[in-house]
């Protein structure tokens, strides 16, 4: 599985415009386990954006956005901006399918993780450049907090 971390809220809003019609697509597979794509995290982001005056019209939670299942998100025709809450592969899929829309990702790939449902923890097994310090570290499942 792929471990991701959420980007700062400001980093996301920097790329948004108040006129954007936004759909949020979250991945209920690895990103959910990492704590970056669950229904609650999606809801928190959407409500915060709405409070701040952004036009978030809908959202989809899809299992494995890195596969063609991402087509299951049948977007409202008015949507011109998509916020993806998934690893880079899920975002890449959305980018490819919706090439005419603005796609903003809220997650950054940290590396590969091994999940331990008994302990409810995640261990980082292999990291991307710049995240070597997390190698071998453990995080809580579904929140991504450091153990």
């Amino acid at each position: 599985m792929i471990f991701t971390k959420s980007r700062n809220y400001e980093e996301i809003t920097k790329k948004l415009d108040k006129n954007d019609v936004i759909s949020v697509i979250g991945c209920s597979s690895c990103a959910r386990v990492s704590g970056t794509g669950s229904n609650e995290v999606m809801q928190n982001l959407a409500l915060k954006l709405m409070d701040d005056g952004y036009n978030v019209v809908e959202g989809y939670s899809i299992n494995t956005m890195c596969t063609p299942k991402v087509f299951q998100a049948k977007l409202d025709e008015k949507v011109n901006t998509i916020i993806t809450m998934s690893c880079s592969a899920g975002s890449s899929n959305v980018n490819q399918i919706h090439a005419n829309k603005k796609v903003i990702t809220t997650c950054e790939d940290i590396g590969l993780m091994e999940a331990d449902t008994k302990e409810r923890t995640i261990k980082i097994v292999k990291t991307y450049e710049g995240h070597g310090a997390t190698q071998g570290q453990k995080f809580r499942m579904f929140t991504g907090e450091k153990v």
């Binding site: 792929i2 999606m42 809908e58 989809y60 890195c66 063609p68 087509f71 899929n93 449902t117 097994v125």
Partner: protein
């Protein structure tokens, strides 16, 4: 998904093992399949190749998702699986480097040979198949918008896109026998499963409880055929072909039986496609029961439904369970036991009250389910399905999408 490619030739693999060693094969049933390195079929091919070369393969095991440590640990105590690992001197996992971490940690006293190199994160696209989107720095590949096809990545990194010596495998001559199916003479590999032999030859026998990744079961009785010399109709999913077999796969009696089975299935629950997540077949989900009912032109059932509504389980974040759409084929129970290695699903009650429950009849979320999706992948109806959630409104209300 995690993108990995085979990193050694068959000769290099053989250099690492000796004919005296007991070998177990182990494969993940997730990303690695799309990369062409894993899955039951590939594992069986490697098993045949090694056995033909005189190596001692003592077992093989398919795991639904190899980066779930809990599932690997369970194998140490699982009655049906622990022997596969205990006996082995060598384990050859068809798995990415992420999954390798778990198996090498849990079976630290065994020789474990990693046959795949993990390159990074990628996606499965409709037009290009598997694409590597975000390579690890160590690969030396730069990130590019369109990503790398597996062939391109393999060429750049001197890795393999095909499976171990596919040409050599095809050179090993299996014992071929002659059988007759529906009056037609057919050559088939001795002891091959009859249902598969029929499929190989373009003869589709309807079935609901069979899955290539699971052990033979013979519960649904849809695949019953007539075989000369057999006292009664035989479930083709449980029969191995033998020289001279004469098989009838379709006639009026068999088709009438199949219609009755389908009508009984219809009467056994609430199979209303309008309220089912698998109601509209798509590339991602399709209902095998619906497909067969349409194929057989069944519009109503002669049997009384007359059963109580069973409670729906919507507790899991990712799995939706509607027992009213269950036909008790047992596929999910077997997938949870054989592939996940959890035994988290099982039958309870008897007769028309029989149902499948998670854990000790708890809600899915309260059980040790790890959401590996082994059960939803095999369910032939809308009983167990992956959730797609739609959010809308000023409160961002969540609603399960019936079909997308």
């Amino acid at each position: 998904m995690i993108i990995s490619l085979r990193n050694m030739s068959y000769d290099e693999l053989k250099d690492k093992i000796s004919p005296d060693e007991k070998i177990s094969l182990y494969s993940c049933n997730a990303c690695i399949i799309a990369c062409g390195v894993g899955g039951l079929e590939k594992m069986e091919r490697l098993e045949n190749l090694l056995k033909n070369d005189g190596y001692n393969v003592v077992g093989k095991d398919l795991i639904s998702i190899g980066c779930q440590k809990h599932l690997i640990e369970n194998r140490k105590t699982d009655v049906a699986k622990k022997k596969i690992y205990e006996e082995a001197d060598v384990i050859i996992p068809l798995i990415c480097e992420d999954g390798y971490e778990g198996i090498s940690e849990i079976y630290a006293n065994k020789k474990i040979i990693q046959v795949a190199k993990t390159l990074g994160v990628g996606s499965f696209t409709m037009d290009r198949g598997v694409v590597l989107n975000t390579p690890f720095k160590e690969t030396g590949l730069d990130e590019k918008k369109e990503g790398y096809g597996l062939g391109e990545a393999a060429e750049s990194l001197d890795l393999y896109t095909d499976f171990f010596d596919e040409e050599s495998i095809s050179k090993v001559e299996p014992e071929i026998i002659s059988i007759t199916i529906d009056g037609k003479q057919i050559s088939a590999q001795k002891n091959r499963n009859l249902l598969k032999v029929c499929k190989d030859n373009g003869i589709e026998i309807p079935h609901l409880c069979h899955d290539d990744n699971l052990d033979k079961y013979g519960a649904c009785r849809m695949c019953l055929v007539k075989i000369d010399g057999f006292r009664d109709l035989a479930a083709s999913c449980c029969v191995e072909v033998a020289e001279g077999m004469n098989i009838i796969t379709t006639d009026d009696e068999l088709e009438a039986n199949r219609k009755v089975i389908l009508e009984l299935a219809m009467a056994s629950g609430d199979h209303n496609c309008l309220t089912c997540s698998k109601g509209v077949p798509s590339d991602f989900v399709s209902c095998q029961l619906q497909s067969l009912i349409r194929k057989y032109g069944i519009t109503e059932t002669q049997f009384d439904a007359g059963i109580d509504k069973k409670p729906i389980d919507d507790s899991s974040d990712v799995i939706f369970y509607d027992p009213n759409k269950c036909i008790l084929c047992g596929k999910c129970v077997r997938a949870c036991e054989e592939i996940a290695g959890l035994c988290n699903l099982g039958f309870i009650n008897r007769g028309e009250k029989t149902t499948i429950v998670a854990g000790l009849n708890k809600e899915m979320k309260q059980t040790e389910c790890v959401s590996c999706m082994a059960c939803t992948d095999v369910c032939p109806t809308g009983a167990l399905s992956e959730k797609v959630i739609y959010f809308s409104g000023k409160n961002w209300n969540a609603k399960r999408v019936l079909n997308s």
